[in-house]
């Protein structure tokens, strides 16, 4: 029902090539997340799928039909815009209901669905307000609500939770997951939040500068990043990269160790280092180290730990989780 194929999509603005040939297959009912650095073309790709952007070349195939030239209204999609794009002259309720009204849905049904969506997104008190009277997070929720009331087969979300607080974010994330299960709709989702990406996605697509770096399940990307870029991009704090020769490994150019795969000890270990800075997050402690041998290292420890700047510690990588990359920055498997 909601399958999607992108065939070497290219998009240029003037001379600036924003999408450099994207090929992608999304199966019906899949939850696909696009991640990538700011400006890498995620929104542009999403807009191309929606038909809002005329692609320079390539084809968008939805449900097996080439829809490259179909107007957005006919593609049966719903989209949450990064910029919200709420209708400023309509109330929250009408913002959500307009699409349904347009489709001729019965009034009760509209009310029911809007009621449900606004309940889910804690928007009930604001139904009669206009967007200008809402806070940033409330606007974003209205934008989400507007998409979900329509229950289409293909959802496109562009950073839908970026303005929500942690609690609401978790809650909304769970709602979206539930929606995905209950509607069996295909969802394509852009986010820069690692937790969202890891928890929601069936498949993560890592984009960089308009091209796909790797496609895979969350754990695949975490455990077996195809290259330095993906390794560095997935996981926060970022993976530590160490010039391989410095640590005596000559079969690789770079080795990578995630902060959570470093153990610290005051007594002994592989690399000696000096504590530079400590961040206490409550549940975790992030320790920044400076080592003569490996340069800057980040370690992430569970729970609270007391280390003081300038203390000397030993860091030991978990050998089972060391990543190795060749001169082309590709992973060595």
């Amino acid at each position: 029902m909601g399958s999607l194929q992108l065939k070497s999509i290219r998009k240029t603005y003037g001379t600036h090539e924003v999408l450099k040939g994207i090929d992608l297959e999304v199966k019906d009912g899949e939850f696909v997340i696009f991640v990538g650095p700011s400006g890498c073309g995620k929104s542009t790709l999403l807009r191309s799928i929606a038909g809002l952007e005329d692609v320079t070349s390539g084809a968008v195939v939805i449900n097996g039909r080439d829809e490259t030239l179909t107007p957005p209204a006919k593609r049966g999609i719903a989209m949450v815009f990064q910029s919200y794009a709420l209708y400023p002259h309509l109330t929250v309720k009408d913002n959500m209901g307009l699409g349904l009204k347009q489709a001729g849905t019965a009034k009760d049904e509209i009310d029911k669905r809007v009621g449900k969506a606004s309940g889910m997104l804690s928007l009930e008190p604001y139904l009669a307000r206009r967007p200008a009277e809402l806070s940033g997070g409330q606007r974003q929720r209205v934008a989400i609500g507007r998409a979900i009331v329509r229950e289409p087969e293909l959802f496109l979300f562009d950073e839908p939770l970026s303005n929500l607080d942690a609690a609401l974010r978790v809650q909304t994330r769970l709602e979206i997951a539930r929606l995905h299960r209950s509607l069996k709709a295909t969802m394509i989702y852009v986010t820069h939040d690692q937790v969202e990406a890891m928890t929601l996605a069936d498949k993560i697509v890592v984009l960089n500068a308009g091209a796909i770096e790797q496609i895979g399940s969350p754990m695949e990307l975490y455990k077996r990043p195809a290259n330095v870029f993906v390794a560095g991009f997935i996981g926060s704090p970022q993976m530590n990269f160490i010039a391989a020769e410095k640590v005596g490994d000559h079969s690789a150019k770079t080795i990578g160790v995630r902060p959570e795969h470093l153990t610290l000890s005051r007594e002994q270990g592989t690399w000696v280092a000096k504590v530079v800075h400590v961040e206490h997050l409550g549940a975790d402690t992030i320790i920044y180290l400076e080592s003569d041998q490996c340069g800057l290292l980040t370690a992430r420890l569970f729970g609270e730990h007391q280390y003081e700047p300038d203390e000397i510690v030993y860091a030991t990588p978990d050998q089972a989780h060391v990543h190795r990359f060749d001169v082309d920055d590709q992973a060595i498997r």
């Binding site: 603005y13 003037g14 005329d54 692609v55 490259t68 030239l69």
Partner: protein, 315 residues
Amino acid sequence: MSETDNTVDIVPIRRPVRWHIFVFMLPALIVYSAVMVLPLIETLRLSLYNTVDGQPAFVGLANFKVLFGDARWARDFWNALVNNLIFFAIHMCVQNPIGVALAALLSVPKLRGVAFYRTAMFLPTLLSFVIVGFIWKLILSPIWGVAPWMLDLIGLKFLFAPWLGKSGSALIAVSLISNWQYIGIPMMLIYAALLSIPEEVIEAAECDGITGWAQFWKIKLPLILPAIGIISILTFVGNFNAFDLVYTVQGALAGPDMSTDILGTLLYRTFFGFQLQLGDRSMGATIATVMFLIILAGVSLYLFVIQRRMRRYQF
């Protein structure tokens, strides 16, 4: 906010026929073409005809030759054109800046009485020419006039002159009356444009220390430039078509000594005739055609050069 830049033409991939474009255009096209364009073309066509031996005949560009070649026609025409340029210049230098300034003042946030001011300032625009002509003639009249009386009050009576009756000042006086009457138009347009600037951008400017005059100059003005373009071109078109005010204030002969004659009055006199002068449709149409070409040149310049270069910002 985002912006469409019209200069970048996206190469459309073969699209299906977009019928809605026709539907959107059709009603306007039909009414406009049938009731306005066809009759006007019919009229402009007359510029290629003239009465030869009592019969209308095709004469090619002969009428234009007369208009520019005959010393009298040419004198009248150039006189009117020069006057018209002055008329336009005064509007651009007085009416539009004041209109923009008033709109800017009106849009000062949280100002009380805006609705009153706006209505009051727009009132002259609502008046018919008959009233405007009458009341200003009365005000400026050396005999009954309010102007001399008021100047007298402040001891400046000697400054007064029968402005409308002197060839040196009549055109300026009429232009200023016209400015007074029409200032509401640029004011309204700019006001509408100012209103659509997002509040947050202005707030950002406030925080950046860009306030008052600088804010208008550096933030608001660039954002309302398209609206200023519109008022300029509307002023241009309006001034080169103007006629009624001169006609009611100074008469069809645009006295004294033709000093207030603009293209519009010349055209009406010629086309419809005046007093003993019989209407000369052919020469009238010829003048109209020339005026049309002048205005067309201006509008095309605007549409194809200025408007295309002008950046628009979406809010």
